[in-house]
Amino acid sequence: MVQVTTGSSFMKVAIIQFPGSNCDTDCQAALASLPGIQAEIVWHKETSLAGYAAVVLPGGFSYGDYLRCGSIARFSPIMRAVRAVAESGVLVLGICNGFQILCEAGLLPGTLMRNNGLLFRCEHLHLRVENNDSPFTSVLHQGQVLDIPIAHGEGNYFADAETLKQLNMNNQILVRYCDASGNVSPEANPNGSLENIAGICSHGRNVFGLMPHPERVCDPLLGGTDGRSIFQSMIEAVAKLNVKS
């Protein structure tokens, strides 16, 4: 099902570079610090993602985020390919602006509105792992608390009631904002997101969008390594698929 270059021990990851992406090289460096990953930047005008086992839509301000975050990027040429590989089961991870683009493109339900406090917020905060039955959270355990920073002005997750019900029923909500001891409370909600939602996956579970930035906590010198678990889960998920195929 998934096309991965066999015989190579590398998992090839594409990091999409839109005009205005600015966490692309951060993601590349974070991924490169993990063994077994080859991370390549792919320009948004490309049209194929053949050969990549996973795709990352990094953070930033694609097209300046001018009209609405992610609203213009979703029409970039590469997005056709992203949609195609997502439908074929390839792992797609959208971080921050990447999450916004995935929502705008309809690859994930709902949308990200302006923070209810109206200000951009950059800070370390905590996430509770709500579900580890996904290729992005498999090395974590349910209820585990991660310290991963956010940096966004529009991360207020919203979906209509029916969608929200579906997300809960299908265990698509993978992480929620919480306090240091894991309580999901209104005080721990940095932006007004419904039910403290910080990240959701698709119905098929292979597309994951999250507002916090795991790539920023992959080095003990930079305030922690909790972000690695997300990438680690992806590596393991791809490795399993390779064994199967």
């Binding site: 005009p19 205005g20 600015n22 966490c23 090289t25 951060d26 460096a29 974070a30 953070g59 930033g60 301000f61 097209y63 300046g64 985020d65 001018y66 406090g117 200000l119 951009f120 917020r121 950059c122 800070e123 920073p149 940096a151 002005g153 930035h213 790539e215 920023r216 992959c218 080095d219 010198l221 930079l222 305030g223």
Partner: protein, 741 residues
């Protein structure tokens, strides 16, 4: 040429003095055209020519073995950091535009300084900001305006920096009456490059084509450079259309395109269009190259219809660059601009006649010798008032306030309170290099691609500068260096932003001169060059001049990641030491200002020899792995420093200052320089004491870090106690509650 008559009124409107106009006549040997008058006007504005400050700026130490590009040679200085890597950094003001339109004024200030850095061929890696506003407390109209300016400026910096993807990792914010109506917005950018990547802003190679790239030219900020050099008066409201709008998205594309372009071998010279736009960039590149440049305004990409040559030449539209391309390489250049979707045009060529020549199609509208235009502006040595150093404060006139009351008040003073409300709006982590986030003494940034660790801080206590400008400037340099030392860094260079009032007033000119001399002395003492900077004069509102504010930004390097140190106590049981000696002066202190409403007395003294010895001693014990935390004493004195060290990890301290015959308020809140509070594991205490004794600096054990609820400070028979959680809440809550969340 435009046939508009050159009247004395028109000349005056262009801000040229009769003497300057005579010089124009003698350079040209004829009357200037209207366009030429505009060109002279902006090139000879204070902002571009430094005509009032240049003789002073020559006093700065600018050389040294690590200096690769000197101050003033190019857009920013460049300093070697080893292994073939270098940094380019600079600070720049956008005070007047920010007073008129805080959001766009601050945003375009950030955009401008970023362009200065990538013009050098460097990849920008981080930003800092130094801000001053009038008081933000209360319901008065002025307080409301000050809050609006503060909120707008911070949002503007956040907008530009966050969007372009550069972390703002440090800065400072002070609030004082003198900035009501005239806020200060100084932005700093640092970039990294290989030695061989240094790009020059010179028009080299006769016949080479001149390219324009970036945003289309509109009528933005028309004559803004001249505008920045005038006092802010009621009339400047009429200058309102002189506001530029920044487009960080375009700048991000321009940045990537220019760096990609500079990595090829196609570029003979490159120059950003900052203040004075196209005029300044053509004239300066020609002057630096010893060549001439000829351009045609009709070829310039334009946003608005029907712009005159005058408007195109003087427009300050943002996000534009001038690139001198090696002949024959045009195709590669075009390909890169097209990839990044940037408007561009070939607008002229390099000539050999030394002239800056501007055509409007077939007509020549400007024909001026470039070098004379760039360099021959009359320089002024203004009159400096004589200065009597202020008398020491008479302590008898200062009623004692109970420290238990005073400390919370100090911690809630907006100048001392936590600036989290500010830096939380800045993405301070993008580019994944920020090892010490804002909030500690100096920020620390790891440059991954170069495997180097940098530290940076920006400081200026303008109260000291107001009371004694020379001493204040010396302290600003020392405090920066001290903040770097506390983070484990050794300074490598300084950039400064001289913010002053109208230099025609002798007392203001004295302040400028004394500050430059004080900075020079400080830089010599620490052995660091001034790599560049910026001068902003005419910072006055109807109420008078601002307090002199010579902002210092200092960059340092840290040899080993193990040396990175923060100001926060790490664990209960660690022992607390004070390095340096506490004096008894309260002059210029925030205690005197915030609790007694007085800005007077003599500021603390600055002994560079002692200061240097203390930094060296601190660094040596940091490098030996003995130091858990280090935090210098600045505004608010010892008690504020100790409280701040408690916060981050929710610890407390138990301090005993022994018996002294000093007043407790003096002891706890005076601002004697050269003091650092450190904490040390108990097991390391004897080693530390031995090391510090060897270095000969004064130090004393003060107490220990505790996990208790209260901060306790004893002096002789007195004991003071504060709930640390309360202090923390006051410190963190002060600015958010004034700004409405």
């Amino acid at each position: 040429m435009s046939n508009r008559a050159i009247t004395p009124e028109l000349i005056a409107k262009h801000g040229l003095s009769p003497e300057e106009y005579d010089k124009v006549l003698s350079i040209l040997g004829r009357e200037p055209s209207f366009e030429e008058l505009g060109v002279f006007s902006v090139m000879w504005s204070e902002h571009c020519s430094y005509k009032n400050s240049r003789p002073e700026l020559r006093k700065f130490p600018t050389t040294g073995p690590s200096v690769l590009v000197k101050a003033g040679e190019e857009n920013a200085g460049v300093i070697d950091i080893g292994d073939g890597w270098a940094v380019a950094f600079k600070i720049e003001s956008h005070n007047h535009p920010s007073a008129v339109e805080p959001f766009q004024g601050a945003a375009t200030g950030v955009g401008g300084i970023i362009r200065d850095i990538f013009t050098m061929g460097a990849r920008p890696v981080f930003l800092m900001d130094s801000l001053r506003f009038g008081p933000i407390e209360g319901d008065g109209e002025q307080a409301k305006t000050n809050r609006r300016l503060f909120a707008g400026v911070v949002a503007g910096i956040a907008h530009y920096g966050n969007c372009i993807g550069l972390p703002t990792i440090a800065g400072e914010v002070y609030f004082d009456e003198s900035y009501s109506g005239n806020p200060l917005v100084n932005a700093f950018c640092l970039g990294i490059l290989r030695h061989e990547q240094i790009a020059r802003g010179a028009a080299e190679g006769v016949g080479n084509p001149v390219f324009y790239v970036g945003a289309e030219t509109g009528r933005d900020g028309l004559a803004g450079a001249a505008f920045a050099s005038r006092e802010l008066t009621e009339e400047s409201k009429a200058d309102r259309p002189a506001v530029q709008v920044g487009d960080p998205f375009r700048e991000k594309l321009l940045l990537e395109a220019c760096l990609e372009l500079l990595a090829t071998d196609c570029v003979a010279g490159i120059q950003d269009m900052g203040a004075a736009g196209l005029t300044c960039s053509t004239c300066e590149t020609a002057s630096r190259g010893g060549t001439g440049v000829e351009i045609d305004v009709q070829l310039v990409p334009q946003r608005a219809k029907g712009q005159t040559p005058y408007e195109v030449l003087l427009s300050e539209s943002q996000e534009r660059m001038l690139v001198i391309v090696k002949k024959g390489q045009e195709a590669t250049v075009k390909q890169i601009f097209e990839k990044w979707n940037l408007p561009y045009a070939e607008i002229g060529k390099v000539t050999d006649d030394g002239m800056m020549r501007v055509r409007n199609g077939n007509e020549i509208v400007v024909n001026v010798p470039a070098r004379a235009l760039a360099d021959d502006c009359p320089l002024y040595s203004r009159e400096a008032a004589s200065f009597t150093p202020p008398a020491q404060l008479d302590l008898a006139t200062v009623p004692q306030i109970d420290p238990e009351t005073a400390l919370p008040k100090l911690l809630s003073h907006p100048s001392i309170a936590s600036k989290r409300w500010v830096w939380r709006q800045y993405d301070h982590m993008v580019r994944t290099g920020t090892a010490v986030l804002p909030g500690s003494d100096a920020a620390v940034f790891i440059v991954r691609e170069a495997n180097k660790i940098l530290a940076a801080a920006t400081d200026c206590n303008a109260i000291y500068c107001k009371l004694d400008p020379g001493v204040g400037a010396r302290i600003a340099v020392a405090e920066c260096a001290r903040n770097l030392a506390c983070s484990g860094a050794v300074p490598i260079g300084v950039t400064d932003n001289l913010n002053f009032g109208n230099p025609h007033k002798p007392e203001n000119f004295y302040q400028l001169r004394a500050a430059v001399e004080g900075i020079s002395e400080g830089c010599r003492a620490f052995g660091v060059p001034v790599t560049g900077g910026n001068v902003s004069l005419y910072n006055e509102s109807p109420a008078g001049a601002i307090d002199p504010t010579p902002t210092i930004s200092m960059v340092g390097t840290i040899a080993d990641a193990a040396h990175i140190t923060t100001q926060y106590f790490k664990q209960a049981g660690d022992q607390i030491f004070l390095i340096g000696e506490t004096g008894s002066e309260l002059g210029g202190s925030h205690y005197l200002l915030a609790l007694h409403g007085r800005k007077e007395g003599a500021p603390p003294t600055m002994d560079f020899a002692q200061e240097k010895a203390i930094h060296a001693a601190l660094l040596s014990v940091i490098r030996k792995g003995l130091v858990q935390s280090a935090h210098d004493c600045s505004e608010g004195g010892l008690a504020v420093t100790i409280a701040e060290s408690c916060f981050f990890n929710s610890l407390a301290a138990s301090i005993d200052l022994g018996s002294t015959n000093q007043r407790p308020d003096v002891l706890l809140f005076n601002e004697t320089q050269g003091r650092i509070v450190i904490s040390v594991k108990s097991s390391n205490v004897s080693t530390l004491e031995a090391e510090l004794s060897k270095s000969g600096v004064p130090f004393r054990k003060m107490g220990e870090v505790t996990a208790k609820a209260d901060l306790l400070i004893k002096t002789g028979a007195n004991a003071y106690r504060w709930r640390i959680a309360d202090l923390n809440e006051i410190f963190e809550g002060a600015i958010p509650s004034l700004m409405g969340g």
